[in-house]
């Protein structure tokens, strides 16, 4: 049997390994995905005081610390049985919207765009942000940097620290904002809305106006009919910060809608002998293996899934784009994995619009930012939508608030099964008997993976900082046929 390993998967935030085994005739016999994980966080957190969790958990991940801080803070509200003040909730959501603007901007321009702007077959040396900016222009490059910088200023101003906020407390936040800060946030939000619009135009010009890419987006190779998960508000609109988790089937029908406290009734984890990863699935539907369809409990929690799981966007410009996506791609739900890049940009626009709304909210500068908890802590669950999927924090403490047990389901983990299936399908469709295995072909396999933006235990930053993910292909005799291993 031949074996192919993709290592590294370029431009991804984490480590991983794709191994593909070929049959005698050169077709794909099987594909495996390996993701090294940092382990033992639950143990590490035992015996710590619960109030430290929003600070500690955000160190797990170098990419989305703000999401962990927010899920941790919400878990503390629940743990101490305290409802935050209205202003506190709005300040949290404001910071979180600014974070979404930065994170989605980064993903699209650094990780997603190179495949389309430079082309899937472009040499790896060009298929990166430098190539993208060389092609789309320095002005847009400057806007990417500036949008990130300005929104990081918001995170620092509202959250008390750059990148790692420290303002979340049970019942509220530690710091109010003044009128001067509010006015600057409003200004940044306006610019971010414009930037969101421009980014959608880039997607239009580069992807939607190119028949080859549209065909690729709509192709069966990159289609997967799984359940969709996402947080929704009371009107079933997409919400990143608060609400209930809604799950909608590949047929567009609602399967369930649950409050954070109920997550264990809906989500179970599958263990496979060939990997340490656990694969979450929908309990009600059950585990039927790595297959898609209505009868398989595999689900996705991505920007596209969030749009599929909701009835719309809560802001006008994003809603218009939402409608355009579905009318262009043939109605709801959309099961084309590559359309996730489009969905991400619609979310970017929504985040910017929401930021603007909150910056103009009369309550936002109120000093009423905290309700002091008075009840004894016992157990709490907090859920937010992290950019890479639904993020659940669950803490159990003693009556002094010392952690006895901690369980986290992080964004990317939700998508492990779906991610594995997408890569497997792309490999089986693209590697055929007699087809030459080129770097461009292996990159197309990686393209099945990139929309998920998997963030795999990227808590370490040791130099030289390349991404160790390789794709290796082995033939039926076990000989290495091809290996893509940049950065190793």
């Amino acid at each position: 049997m031949k074996k192919i390993t993709i290592d590294p998967i370029t431009r991804l935030e984490g480590h991983g390994k794709i191994t593909i085994f070929l049959n005698e005739d050169g077709s794909v016999a099987n594909t495996y995905l390996q993701i090294p994980e940092l382990r033992g966080f639950e143990k590490f957190s035992e015996g710590r005081i619960a109030e430290d969790m929003p600070q500690i958990t955000q160190r797990i991940c170098g990419v989305c610390p703000e999401a962990h801080h927010m899920a941790g803070t919400k878990a503390l509200d629940d743990l101490f049985h305290v409802e935050p003040t209205s202003t506190a909730k709005k300040l949290r959501e404001l910071l979180y919207s600014a974070f979404y603007v930065t994170d989605h901007t980064t993903h699209f321009y650094i990780l997603g765009a190179p495949d389309f702007v430079m082309g899937p077959d472009a040499a790896p040396a060009e298929r990166n942000i430098l190539g993208v900016i060389g092609k789309v222009g320095l002005e847009l490059g400057g806007a990417v940097i500036n949008t990130r910088k300005q929104n990081h200023w918001i995170i620092q101003t509202v959250g008390g620290r750059p990148i790692h906020p420290c303002f979340g407390l049970p019942g509220g936040v530690s710091k109010a904002i003044n009128e001067e800060e509010r006015a600057k946030i409003e200004e940044i939000a306006k610019q971010s809305v414009e930037f969101g619009k421009v980014s959608l135009k880039v997607f239009d010009d580069v992807v939607l106006k190119n028949k080859m890419y549209v065909d690729m987006v709509l192709s069966d190779t990159f289609t997967q009919k799984s359940y969709n998960m996402g947080l929704v508000d009371k009107s079933n609109k997409v919400n990143f910060y608060d609400g209930k988790v809604r799950v909608v089937g590949p047929d567009g029908k609602e399967l369930c809608k649950y409050a954070p406290r109920e997550y264990l009734e809906h989500i179970a984890e599958r263990v496979e002998p060939w990997t340490y990863l656990k694969f979450p699935y929908l309990k009600k539907v059950g585990w039927k293996g790595f297959v898609d369809g209505k009868d398989s409990g595999v689900y996705r929690a991505t920007p596209l899934s969030r749009l599929n799981a909701a009835d719309g966007m809560a802001t006008p410009l994003a809603q218009a784009e939402y409608e355009r996506l579905y009318s262009t791609l043939g109605g709801k739900p959309v099961n084309y994995t590559l359309a996730t890049h489009w969905a991400r940009l619609i979310e970017l626009l929504y985040a910017a619009e929401r930021l603007l709304e909150l910056s103009r909210d009369p309550e936002i500068t109120s000093p009423n930012i905290r309700n002091i908890p008075t009840a004894k802590p016992d157990e709490g669950v907090g859920i937010v939508e992290a950019p890479r999927g639904t993020l659940t924090h669950h803490y159990i403490t003693d009556e002094k608030g010392v952690i006895k047990k901690c369980n986290l389901i992080v964004g990317t983990t939700n998508n492990y099964a779906a991610l594995f299936m997408s890569v497997k399908k792309a490999a089986a469709d693209l590697i055929k008997p007699g087809v030459k295995i080129t770097e461009g072909l292996l990159n197309r396999i990686e393209m099945a993976w990139r929309p998920y933006d998997p963030c795999m235990s990227c808590a370490t930053h040791a130099l030289p900082g390349q991404l160790p993910l390789e794709v290796t292909i082995y033939d039926a005799q076990g000989n290495e046929v091809k290996k893509l291993s940049q950065g190793i």
């Binding site: 590490f44 160190r59 942000i129 320095l138 808590a459 370490t460 930053h461 040791a462 030289p464 950065g487």
Partner: protein, 151 residues
């Protein structure tokens, strides 16, 4: 000359926290208004955000090389990273690409960047303490950073 001393790493992943520990120690021993000491867990584009506007930047980070011994210290310049320029990074883009991007966009990039890297032993376990081998190297790295600042 506006100088930044930047500890990079994750303070709860054993030896990955070495850069941040060194930065803390440098901050304790230093009293110079022209020098800013900071820490970050972010890399790639965020690293670029951190260093724009400084004339000189000293970065301290963990490293893992094929044959290195835990606690070994390397002094490097950005030229040492140019080989990996187009390669990927776990965190968006690597240092060399970030620098090239900054220059391409006409940002105020530092004229001099020095990197002190310490060979790490364990970067997969959760702990706020470095391994003894790496811990022992910290005073030496601090000394090297302070000397670099005097140079």
């Amino acid at each position: 000359m506006k100088t930044l001393v930047l500890g990079v790493g994750n303070p709860i992943i054993t030896d990955d926290g070495v850069g941040i520990q060194v930065a803390h120690e440098v901050a304790n021993q230093l009293n110079d208004p022209r020098v800013t000491v900071a820490e970050t867990s972010a890399a790639g584009l965020s690293l670029l955000d951190s260093i724009v506007g400084y004339d000189r930047v000293i970065i301290i980070d963990a490293i893992q090389t094929e044959k290195g011994e835990a606690g070994q210290i390397y002094r490097m310049s950005t030229a040492d990273f140019s080989l990996t320029k187009h390669f990927s990074s776990p965190h968006q883009i690597n240092l060399a690409t970030a620098l090239e991007l900054g220059r391409m966009l006409g940002l105020a990039m530092p004229q001099r960047i020095t990197v002190f890297a310490v060979e790490a032993k364990d970067i997969t376990s959760f702990s706020e303490k470095c391994t003894p081998e790496v811990e022992q190297a910290i005073p030496e790295v601090v000394k090297m950073v302070l000397q670099e600042l005097d140079a």
